[in-house]
């Protein structure tokens, strides 16, 4: 294989450290051995519970759960590594957000009661409990505080009403972190997180069909007088925003990490293709235009890799700013998109056939520039600083 700025980079020390690089190897092996062979099946019928349990067997779920609860007690950066690998695996384009659920796990680690942890951690580790963070609503978007789902206290229960959309793992989740208004008059200061088991009466869902992620699970969730005990409150009442804000940076950064992984994988697949494909009696790679397109891609990916590594170091140092993660979100997601677009072009007609991973990776790439804060929102946030 070409000596490129691969994952992890050859001649520069990994910013993750040895332990997380071992975690990376496990995640990569999982995708290569378990997901890739079944990708056509997932495309057609969606993912199944068996693949989640398989992920549990590999030990890649709930990486941040402390050792005392049977977890690996890994650093939170594990989610970055998992995201890079989700991007780097061609099958990741089919699987959607899939295993990147440790944003949820971390909520439970940080804010769960002993009882809640004991109830859910074992299932999370084995893959029996799929988690979903249910925040976004049809009429809220970038402004989380405008959600309308409510949880009204009734004796020892909360009664939840409302609907959520664009929820990763939403149609399958066994454990829903419902973000609700417990004090609707107070906007951001009246929001709480309530754990709702997926099989609670009154919970219904619908899988949404997305561009890309054919085997993924993006869902709508409806709460119709859903009743759960008040002990299902996660953390303190009305403190959801305070719990959320510290996680935003990491959430954006894992999306970004996925982009870098995907761009790298697409580039490698395409170099290989250009060496093998013959046209007009020459290899595709022999054309100057091909070489220039590949050089442009490699340059941008190398720049992106150096940039991401720098940000990862800031994350370790605790100096990553909101502006940093906004800029990363803009630039690295656009990088993935440009790379995939060029790759499809070099694959030609084959790049449009969904049998080909490049085709699926292209389709999956588009959402990266939109979710977890669209480019425009990031620019708006950055823009305020110039005033």
């Amino acid at each position: 294989m070409l000596q490129t700025a691969s994952l992890p980079a050859g001649d520069v020390e990994s910013p993750y450290g040895e332990e997380l690089e071992m975690y990376r190897e496990t995640v990569r092996a999982f995708f290569r051995r378990e997901v890739e062979p079944r990708v056509r099946e997932f495309e057609e019928h969606g993912s199944d519970r068996a693949i989640w349990r398989k992920a549990g067997e590999y030990g890649i779920l709930g990486a941040t759960i402390p050792e005392e609860y049977g977890g690996a007690g890994a650093h939170r950066m594990a989610i970055m590594v998992a995201a890079e690998e989700l991007g780097y695996a061609p099958s990741g384009a089919t699987m959607g957000s899939f295993i990147g659920t440790d944003i949820c796990t971390n909520f439970l680690v940080d804010h769960g009661t002993e009882e809640q942890k004991k109830a859910w951690f074992p299932g999370i580790l084995t893959g029996d409990v799929i988690q979903a963070m249910a925040l976004t609503e049809p009429e809220s978007g970038s402004d989380a505080t405008s959600i309308r789902t409510t949880a009204v206290r009734d004796g020892d229960d909360y009664v939840i009403n409302g609907s959520k959309c664009f929820i990763s793992n939403g149609s399958k989740a066994d454990l829903i972190y419902a973000i609700v208004k417990t004090d609707p008059a107070a906007k951001g200061r009246g929001m709480s997180v309530i754990l709702v088991p997926g099989d609670t009466p009154g919970v219904t869902r619908r899988r949404m069909i997305t561009q890309g992620y054919k085997g993924g699970d993006t869902g709508e969730i409806f709460f119709d007088n859903v009743r759960v005990p008040v002990s299902n409150l996660l953390g303190e009442e009305n403190k959801a925003m305070a719990m959320f804000i510290p996680t935003i940076g990491l959430d954006r950064m894992q999306i970004v990490a996925r982009s870098v992984g995907a761009a790298q994988a697409a580039f490698e697949l395409t170099v290989e293709h250009c060496r093998n494909r013959k046209i007009f009696g020459q290899r595709l790679v022999d054309f100057q235009n091909t070489q220039f397109m590949l050089a442009q891609m490699e340059t941008e990916i190398s720049v992106g890799r150096a940039y991401l590594d720098n940000l990862i170091r800031k994350m370790w140092a605790g100096t990553l700013t909101d502006a940093d993660s906004s800029m990363a979100k803009i630039w690295l997601c656009e990088l993935e998109f440009r790379t995939l677009d060029s790759c499809v072009q070099l694959w030609g007609g084959n790049g449009w056939m969904d049998e080909n991973p490049i085709s699926r990776m292209f389709t999956a790439a588009r959402v990266q520039r939109i979710f977890a804060g669209a480019t425009e929102l990031m620019k708006s946030l950055l823009g305020r600083r110039y005033l």
Partner: protein
């Protein structure tokens, strides 16, 4: 804004086509999706509406129109959001052209009435897995055996390939040669030895892009179109038509995307104002509108020149390059303005975006168009 180069008759045809798609395509989309694509009935209704075979001479029952009608049909098909799901469908008149220009009287009598009526749909199996842009590298052979040709080979990436009734197979009648050994032979799709299936694609989820195999398929030599070895000439005769048609679809699709997006951003509220009210939204849409307006002028002037037999191959290549790249730019911006909603397949914009990607690839990639344009530059003083 008024367009230059279209007669009243053309504009009337445009209205007819648009009304047809509004009535017969968009409302039927769920049905087409359930059925895996458009059905025979849709073709028949298109025939009844007078949309098919615009170029078929009056002596064979057609309207004998100029090719402008087909460009209009292409643009209106592109403007139909549902066509991002069902694919090229009615864009088969390139095949009709071949029959009209090069077929003999018997062949015309046999097929043209059915084409006009929408009873007979056509496909032109040319591309092969290992011969995309380089047509002369095909390996399918048609070997003369008495009064028959025996055809063997694989075809790939064929519009309407899995469903068409009649196939204009491009094959080597003289495998020792490249371009000069290629011929076009009509094969009825139900001839023994023909096998085919649809290929799953990035876009056109319920379109028909087919993979075909020919296993000792035997057809009479009277099915040859024109003369042996004439395939490249026959194909070149439709080169500009094909490019005009694709550009029309790109323009239609980009225009439709802009309309859908405008409607969306004017109704969608964010932070207490319409998405339209953000300056960025307005600037991005202004860029889209300009891109579309410029492309419209270019297409229209190419249409006029084509009618005057003054359109060069260079210009055809520039048109294909330009219009397909324009569609890509516009669709990308539109999806972005839809935000998350734009990525849900329930939303037409999502499917239009995904479907747009192929335009820069098929019928000669952007790179091949540049090669063609550069040939023209080489010739300049």
């Amino acid at each position: 804004m008024a367009r230059i180069g279209y007669s009243d008759e053309h504009e009337q045809f445009r209205r007819t086509a648009r009304a047809f798609f509004d009535r017969e395509h968009e409302p039927q989309l769920k049905k087409f999706e359930a059925a895996g694509g458009i059905d025979k009935d849709f073709w028949r209704r298109a025939g009844q509406a007078g949309l098919l075979g615009a170029c078929i001479p009056e002596e064979y029952g057609g309207a004998g129109g100029d090719f402008t009608f087909n460009v209009i049909l292409a643009e209106e098909l592109g403007r139909t959001p549902g066509s991002a799901t069902t694919g090229s469908s009615l864009m088969a008149d390139i095949a009709t052209y071949i029959l009209v220009l090069h077929g003999d009287d018997a062949q015309k009598q046999r097929y043209l009435p059915g084409i006009l009526a929408g009873e007979i749909s056509q496909a032109m199996p040319l591309t092969e897995p290992d011969a995309g842009s380089d047509a002369t590298a095909i390996k399918t052979t048609a070997i003369r055996d008495g009064d028959d040709y025996v055809i063997s080979g694989e075809k790939y990436f064929i519009s309407n390939g899995a469903g068409a009734d009649v196939l204009y197979v491009v094959a080597k009648t003289d495998p020792s040669q490249r371009g000069r050994g290629m011929s076009v032979i009509i094969v009825d799709a139900d001839t023994p030895g023909v096998a085919r299936h649809k290929i799953p694609m990035m876009g056109w989820a319920h379109g028909d892009t087919g993979a075909l195999s020919f296993d000792d398929v035997r057809v009479p030599v009277s099915n040859l179109i024109g003369r042996e070895g004439m395939a490249m000439k026959i194909l070149m005769d439709t080169f500009l038509e094909d490019r005009l048609q694709i550009a029309g679809r790109c323009l239609g699709a980009a225009s439709a995307a802009l309309d859908l997006t405008l409607a969306y951003v004017k109704s969608r509220m964010v932070s207490g104002q319409r998405v339209f009210d953000f300056q960025n939204t307005q600037f991005v849409l202004a860029e889209c509108r300009t891109d579309i307006a410029v492309t419209e002028s270019f297409l229209d002037s190419c249409v006029v020149k084509f009618r005057d037999k003054a359109l060069s191959f260079d210009e055809g290549a520039m048109l294909k390059l330009w219009a397909t790249e324009m569609e890509g730019r516009v669709l990308d911006k539109c999806v972005q303005l839809f935000g998350g909603a734009g990525l849900m397949d329930e939303n037409p914009i999502s499917r239009m975006y995904t479907a747009a990607r192929i335009q820069r690839v098929y019928a000669g990639t952007s790179e091949l168009q540049k090669v063609a344009i550069a040939k023209g530059l080489e010739a300049l003083a």
